[in-house]
């Protein structure tokens, strides 16, 4: 037996050297695991109104280069997800969040079409709501219940539920299509720096 006795550090370094090296893709995945949730957390705070638009840039600027790209991508993906046909408040906030990071003609055009779909949905929703309410009021009068003390709770009405879900069935795919386009566009913008 010959040679010098190795220190613990030397042994550890030898072991580490024998470990397989991470590929670029694996490094990226690890970074996404670490920084993706940070972007989603910033998005959550922004959507909840806990973070103002002017504070957003400061928050996001803590992360640079590849990490910054991951955080921004995760933030924007969360904004796209928050666009919801029946949640105009979250949708407006999501648009603000996207607009704070990205501004270009294509985005404006996509936002324009998004607004059109939401407007069409709202108009039809109101029309359907009013006509269902009227039909329910007629049925109620026929039963013998009427007067100013009574207001129909349409949320509990089978008729309204059916009409609303038909409306959602019609409009959700349209909205999902636009959300998909929006996500693709934002991903391209972020990855091109």
């Amino acid at each position: 037996m010959s040679g010098k006795i190795k220190s613990t550090l030397e042994l550890a370094m030898e072991k580490a050297a024998k470990l397989p090296r991470l590929t670029k893709e694996e490094i990226r995945q690890q970074q996404e695991k670490e920084y993706g949730p940070r972007g989603r957390a910033i998005a959550g705070r922004f959507l909840a109104g806990d973070l103002a638009e002017e504070e957003l840039e400061t928050e996001l600027s803590r992360y640079q280069d590849e990490q910054g790209e991951i955080v921004r991508s995760a933030f924007l993906a969360s904004m796209c997800q928050a666009v919801e046909i029946e949640d105009s408040e979250a949708t407006a906030r999501a648009r603000e969040g996207i607009g704070a990071l990205v501004r270009d003609d294509q985005l404006e055009e996509t936002f324009g079409r998004l607004s059109g779909i939401l407007r069409d949905y709202q108009e039809l929703w109101q029309r359907e709501f009013a006509s269902t309410e009227e039909a329910e009021a007629v049925a109620l009068r026929e039963l013998g219940v009427s007067g100013s003390a009574i207001r129909i709770n349409l949320e509990q009405s089978e008729g309204w539920r059916a009409r609303r879900s038909a409306l959602l069935e019609e409009f959700r795919p349209k909205l999902d299509g636009i959300k998909g386009e929006l996500s693709d566009h934002l991903r391209r913008v972020i990855s091109s720096g």
């Binding site: 109620l140 013998g144 219940v145 009427s146 007067g147 100013s148 003390a149 009574i150 509990q156």
Partner: protein, 224 residues
């Protein structure tokens, strides 16, 4: 027990807590009835039959308990409202309660078809029973009372009792609101006060003088 016109009173006679139940029989289309505060399905402590007891009493008065078209709830407390869900499920009756109570009532598993607020409520098509609904908070924030001017009947829920008032120590209770509600209702022409519970009394205060004396007693001795 028929009280006046098509109005029947079912005074709770069990040992556990439950409310008095009132029925406007056959006033709706197809001879369907309106039940006001159906009470517990089964009382919580002694497991006494609440709803089945009501059904039996209605049947003995010749009122079909399967033909209920509307349940009016004065407030959401389970001793007044629990059976409403079962009635709704079994008979297809609509359930009405003040919007302020609807949130808690829903948390207790109830479904609300109609919101009940201040105004007129006509029950029936040809010669309807014309009620006035009063928002009368105090015992609970969305408590309502029903007044039938033609017969001078006040269905008081848990606002007032014989020589007593509804408690205000439960969530949403408010002594000032209770006082104001009682003062407001005391100005009505009333021959019958139908109370929500038979506390030491049937809970049916009868006769204009007796009703007035009761209001005076409450305002002199009990109203804070």
């Amino acid at each position: 027990m028929r009280l006046v016109g098509d109005l029947f009173a079912y005074v709770w006679s069990g040992r556990d807590n439950n409310c008095n139940r009132y029925v406007l029989a056959g006033v709706l289309k197809g001879d369907r009835h309106v039940v006001i505060d159906p009470g517990h399905v089964t009382t919580p402590a002694l497991r006494e039959e609440g709803l089945q007891g009501l059904r039996d009493e209605m049947e003995s008065d010749g009122i079909d308990p399967d033909a209920i078209g509307l349940v009016l709830l004065t407030h959401c407390h389970p001793d007044h409202s629990e059976a409403a869900s079962v009635i709704r499920e079994e008979t297809g009756a609509l359930v009405a309660i003040h919007e302020v109570e609807a949130g808690i009532y829903s948390q207790l598993g109830g479904k609300v078809d109609l919101f009940l607020g201040e105004g007129n409520l006509d029950l029936g098509t040809e010669s309807p029973v014309q009620l006035t609904v009063f928002h009368s908070p105090g015992h609970s924030p969305g408590h309502t009372t029903l007044y039938w001017p033609r017969e001078r009947v006040l269905i008081a829920g848990d606002l007032i009792f014989y020589r007593s008032t509804g408690r205000v120590d439960l969530p949403g209770g408010n002594p000032e609101a209770l006082r104001d509600s009682i003062a407001r209702l005391s100005r009505l022409e009333i021959e019958y006060v139908l109370c929500g519970h038979p506390y030491g009394h049937s809970g049916i205060i009868e006769g204009g003088d007796e009703v007035r004396r009761n209001f005076e007693f409450l305002q002199t001795h009990l109203l804070f």
